[in-house]
């Protein structure tokens, strides 16, 4: 069962945070998309290098995530069709709980990143968003690809999806949220309460 858990897969679970220098609200272009991801890489690296306790790191990652990721898009996607029956208050509570969950879940994996580096390889326009390809170089293993999707849907460049060696964060989290809802027989409030403890 551990067969497919080679090192490079671990990053799936290890990296959803975003960040950049302050960005002006122009229409998105190549260099802004690249800048966003380069900023992200720099910020995440500096948190890892800070040597703080894991608990303090989660707080940092959550701040980074809230400021630079398109949290409302990611939350809406993760809730999927079930979001349609949610009330406004439930949607708001879900987005808040989900943001904390993502920061804990992905932030706690960064231990496995220590000593590695991510390098931006190139930027490509895809329909109405940009795809920024990076390579992760970790000690003792083959380099692997981490891709970020960036859009200015919300009026400024924000990361809305990430792929680690092809593993799609949005799809993975929608599957998980769906399973959490099933476990609570579709009770959204109970699922949100679980989410606050998960990750």
């Amino acid at each position: 069962m551990d067969q497919f858990f080679t090192r490079r897969h671990f990053l799936t679970i290890a990296g959803a945070l975003t960040v950049a220098a302050p960005l002006p609200a122009w229409a998105l272009n190549d260099s802004q998309a690249r800048g966003l991801v380069e900023g992200l890489v720099g910020q995440v690296n500096s948190v890892i290098a800070s040597g703080k306790s894991p608990g303090a790191m989660y707080g940092d990652f959550e701040r980074i995530f809230r400021r630079y990721a398109d949290t409302s898009y990611i939350a809406a996607y993760a809730m999927g069709a079930d979001g349609r029956s949610a009330s406004a208050a439930q949607k708001k509570a879900f987005t808040d709980a989900f943001t904390g969950y993502i920061s804990r879940k992905y932030g706690s994996r960064f231990r496995e990143f220590i000593g590695g580096r991510l390098e931006v390889q190139g930027v490509r326009a895809v329909k109405n968003y940009y795809e920024v390809k990076t390579m992760a170089y970790l000690k003792g293993q083959a380099p692997f690809e981490v891709t970020f999707h960036v859009s200015d849907r919300a009026g400024k460049p924000l990361m809305f999806n990430m792929f680690i060696e092809g593993i799609n964060m949005l799809l993975t989290e929608r599957t998980e949220v769906g399973a959490m809802l099933d476990r609570r027989r579709g009770n959204i409030d109970a699922m949100i309460a679980d989410l606050r403890k998960a990750g």
């Binding site: 069962m1 551990d2 067969q3 497919f4 858990f5 080679t6 090192r7 897969h9 671990f10 799936t12 679970i13 290890a14 398109d70 949290t71 409302s72 898009y73 939350a75 809406a76 996607y77 809730m79 979001g83 949610a86 406004a88 949607k91 708001k92 879900f94 987005t95 879940k105 706690s108 994996r109 231990r111 496995e112 329909k127 109405n128 968003y129 003792g140 293993q141 083959a142 380099p143 999707h149 859009s151 849907r153 809305f160 999806n161 792929f163 060696e165 092809g166 593993i167 799609n168 949005l170 799809l171 993975t172 599957t175 998980e176 399973a179 959490m180 099933d182 476990r183 679980d194 990750g199």
Partner: protein, 262 residues
């Protein structure tokens, strides 16, 4: 499959082995891999044997729980970095000839050539346990018979979870069986030395399991549905490796979702 059983019972000469391999290939092509009909693979997942797969997943999880869970990073922390790199390096070197055979079968001659150079460097300068080839730009590039079947045009088939080995597809499971016979080392190197490669491979997997225990255990034990998570992670990663797209893949359009209220 009679030929295959005879082989397992111990056919010894090479001609018999080759004959067995040929009949095995025919069996694979005849067996084929099932393909989903319209609407049968939501989110790119085709899993008609989900009930059986879930039972095997529970078994695998119990095995992991008994043998590996909660050991944390003990195994990994207990070994010097040099030892870990040597195990990983040896497993990589010992597996390279098998990759070359498969890349030749895929007619990927440039990659097979690079791997041949890589093998030559790492078995000489690298003393089989180091990886100087990577410093020269010849980075690890592995392949297997599942990929060969994909290159030959066989469909992926249904998702399957294999006992102890974990997530796979009908095509990849077939590939694993054939790969028991495609490693040149097992024909050239005498026993017991020929078992060093597979042993190093298992050791490397155990070290990785330990090194990344937090992450593995978060998927296996903290997910609301660990079966669904592993299935999704495996399929997406494997398709990425093979450069394939999911059946009925849904394009994610950042503008086409109602996010009001979130």
């Amino acid at each position: 499959m009679i030929g295959f059983q005879r082989f397992l019972l111990g056919a010894k000469d090479m001609t018999a082995r080759r004959g067995v391999l040929a009949s095995l290939m025919v069996a694979i092509v005849l067996a084929g891999c099932s393909t989903p009909g319209p609407g049968e693979a939501p989110d790119g997942i085709w899993d008609p044997q989900e009930g059986t797969n879930r039972r095997i997943h529970d078994f695998n999880r119990r095995v992991d729980e008994r043998l590996l869970k909660d050991n944390g990073t003990g195994l990994s922390d207990g070994l010097p970095q040099g030892t870990k790199l040597a195990v990983a390096g040896f497993a990589d070197t010992a597996g390279t000839p098998q990759t070359i055979v498969n890349q030749l079968l895929q007619l990927r001659l440039w990659r097979a050539t690079k791997n041949t150079l890589r093998f030559a460097l790492n078995t000489t300068v690298g003393l089989t346990v180091m990886d100087p080839a990577s410093e020269w730009g010849l980075v690890e590039d592995t392949s297997d018979f599942g990929e060969t079947l994909a290159v030959w045009g066989l469909p992926e088939g249904a998702y399957v979870e294999l006992p102890l080995l974990g997530p796979s597809t009908e095509r990849d499971a077939t590939g694993r069986v054939v790969d028991l016979f495609t490693n040149p080392i097992s024909y050239i190197v005498p026993a017991p030395e020929r078992y060093l490669g597979p042993a190093a491979n298992i050791a490397d997997k155990l070290i990785s399991r330990s090194e990344y225990s937090d992450t593995v255990e978060s998927v296996l034990y903290d997910s609301a549905d660990s079966y669904a998570q592993m299935r999704l992670i495996y399929l997406q990663n494997r398709r990425f490796e093979l450069g394939e797209t999911a059946p009925e893949a849904e394009e994610i359009d950042p503008m086409a979702l109602d996010t009001s209220g979130f």
